[in-house]
Amino acid sequence: MKLVKTRVEIEGTVHEELSLADEEPKPWGADADLRVVGVATAKIDGAERVTGRARYTSDVTLPGMLHAKAVRSPYAHARVKRLDASKALALPGVRAVISGENVPRVGWFNGTRLFDGVARFAGDEVAAVAADDEETAEEAVKLIEVEYEQLPFHLDAEEAAKAPPLHGSSNLIGGSPKTYRRGDVEKALREAEVVVEADYATQTEVHHCMETHGAVASWEGGRLTVWESTQSIQNVREELSEALGVPLGEVRVICHYVGGGFGSKQVAYKYTLIASLLSKMTGRPVRMLLSRREESLGTGNRQATTQHIRIAARSDGTLTAIDLAAMGEVGAYGEFGWMTEGPAQRLYACSNVRTVNGTYFTNLGPAKAFRGPGYAEGSFALESAIDELADRLGIDPLELRLRNYSEADPQTGRAYSQKRLRECYRRGAELIGWDGNWGRCVTGSRCRALGVATQIWGGGGGPPAYAWVKMSPDASFEVIVGGQDIGSGTKTCMAQIAAEELGVGIGRVRVRMGDTEAAPYAPVSSGSRTMPSVGPAVRQAAADARRQLIELAADYMDVPTDRIAFDGGSFTARPERSPYIGLEDLAAKVDELTILGRGVRGPNPRDVDLMTWGAQFADVEVDTLTGDVEVKRIVTVHDIGRVLNPLCAGGQLEGGVVQGIGYAFTEGRVVDRRDGVVLNPGLEDYLIPTAMDTPMIQTAFIDEADEAANSIGAKGLGEPPMIPTAPAVANAISRAIGVRIRSLPITREKILAALDEAKEGEGSR
């Protein structure tokens, strides 16, 4: 074991870190003969999930457990002048109230504290109650009298730029916009044969996880156990330890199943701290599970953006400049500015690129990462603008993309470990029936056409991640990982990897995840990183267990280890393939034989960049009289290296496209512009796509192992499918009706208004 420096990219941001390196198994090459990995395998916990046996955080009940509810500010920005909980405390069944009056000093965000007397968005917590049941807690919340002093507030990036800072010295995160440049953009724009310039905007999208956010906290002496619906038991553990001043080893976080995260469940929230503090105050377990309305307000959303983009090109379509000025709005407690500018910097071979991105705090609910954060927003603008350029030049939009294909990372100059985007375009074009007319067809008021957009994203993963593989005396194996399966099939794929390496059937392998206790560290399930980060560690741990077993078998059979073959659950000695002993027999010979194999995710390869790619095509019909849009079909083709499990991977693609359809057409938080109150905090008015809104989705993979990436040849997939959906349908709509919608969501209102405007334009000409 040694320490090496390595580059890791997560959600568009690259950082260097020191990582452990151990001897790695030789990568499974593209032509490796694998029997379990790569096979469509039903989820090993599927039966638990569909029969209701799976125990989610919302199912946790403990003896004596109390229920907590929060008092939330009705105002976008207010100071708590007076808070009187006496009536609530007098209500039978109420056990404790926590507020600014009695809270210990707990750091929260950017120098603010929990219950620090200022509410920074409508819905921000100002107090909480623990009671015997949820109804009593709700009643008590209404009995808490709060007198507020309303403060000035701002709701968008432009207002934020002029308003007094909500945190620190500026509403602009980092004090100045993130800027990037290569080449000479101004010169290229001046000398360009054609320039496309347009303003795009994307809305605030709410994650709306099926299982709302929530936690159950319980103390035993100085030891805290928290069940949390989370994408990272380790992050929650670390944050609780730090905020509450409890040693890391005294905090245990458990999460066996998650009803959706999509980026919004990567961290501890105020409710996690509140449940922990109320549990400490009352000496009883406390459950704090958010309602659907609360889920809408304060548990994350995708940043809203505005993007001004200029693209310069030669008349043959060669890009000569990309110039992007973006602004984002991340609410009162957004974490940082997402990489809206990522696609502009990295998708196309273009030597002159400038991006400026300013992200602002506002008096709204906090933005959190949302499936392809930054890249989904940025791809909508860039991939729409590329189509506008294609229209201007009269070049096929797919051909234009191919003419600007980048063989190396245009940002770093480094080669890619593997890039099969060209194959994605080709396969997708075949499947959708892309031709010179782009499927254009007009029948009365109904106009139909095809559109395309590209997916670029990281997803290479990296250290740190660890895994153990334990063999029990009954010769069954357990993969032990201190991470979580957020529903994407992580457990199943890990079982496949271990079974493959051990040469046993998948039925011999169980996977233990979702508990920080007695399990090695694994990272947050975000950034499409879980499989490429944890998967190789699992393989190494299985290889370690295998090596130990071979040593024991060799000793038992009294032959050198290099003559032992271990396959199909039995050991044979080469070349004569005898003597022979089965794994179970060996385990029976040695009393209570237990083996522990250990694995660590080694460093990423030097000198190459790890990326995932994809091409998505949409077939869309629009009725120009009513503004009705029907997405007839989506074809999505991706290159993620090796596909570990086509069943799980196909499901990820379909889910991503459906979420992309929601982003494109119906989803969006609506806020009253005069008071900052969210008007659609629930699923009656916040419209997620239904089965009827879901088009036919055809999925495909290039499925070629990326041997340079890691020992399993696979990269991540969670985020990619959502990234290109909105621009693909926007491009199809524009081709169908001849007018372009430059803001999301694409509503009937915008389509009808754009058609009217175009008609007026014609009339006045």
Binding site: T626, T690, E749
Partner: protein, 325 residues
Amino acid sequence: MNRFTHVDATSVEEAVRFLGDGARIIAGGTNILPLMKLGVAAPDKLVNIKGIPGLDTMTFDGPGLTIGALAKIDSVASDPQVRRRYPLLSQAASSIASPQIRNMATVGGNLTQEPRCWYYRGAHPCWLKGGRMCYAAVGENGKHAILGAGTCNSVQPSDLAPALVALDAEAEIATPEGTRVTPVEELFKTPTSDSRRLSTLRHDELLTRVTIPQPDEGDAGVYIKKMERRVWTFASASLAARLRFKGGAVAESRLVFGGVSQTPWRLREVERLLEGKTLTDEVIREASLTSTAGAQPLKYNAYKVRLAQAVVSEALRRLRLVDAA
């Protein structure tokens, strides 16, 4: 949610005795329970009418189709006779919400449901709830009324309402004084400052049945609903249209908008215009443009004018095809 008492009514007379100030009816619960959870409704007493016998039936006889107030939306949507004789009613019922809700919600509840305006259902002290102003008038009003709005700008959310008005249905209402019968159209009103409700039913009255006359020879009908998503939401604009054709011309018509005004909005001018006419493209165009006469769109809902006109065109074109067939 507030504390309340819950009483089971076993007959219409008993239900009416239980009703009055502070009491609300519960049947399917899809309207009243969400309102109570939101804190918009806080009744002292819930009168459960689910146990009243005979109120959930649908009968076809001499006068036509009688539907009990407790009939489930799905019973109306999936009934083959309704589908055959009153296709527009079947279509309207099918367009409502989701299968789960259609299996719980009742015809009576659908007709008497409260507005879906997000200011009314949210924390804003809006005029309809007794406050001083309509927040939608100057706020986020993309979903609001373009026709006939008063102080309040919410829209009538019921899909059955325009359908039943187009079918000339009558409502039977139990009152402490006995039974009264009124056209369904008159169940709805624009809220006024002394009666901030969309319904003309008094608090001590119970809608018990609706009766739809037998269809006439030559009747054709259609219900078209435009939504922000394909299913399971309220109408941005809808139209219930019933035409009686005679010799290729329109002998009589009923056209009623949903989702664009506080009441089911009957297009009387268009009905007059169509009388005796053959549905040529020109007639349809005129009808379509006339349909939104007097519209006063707010800042964000002007698209509804064009959408409502498009819905009228679509409906008339489809009915023209029915007549041709």
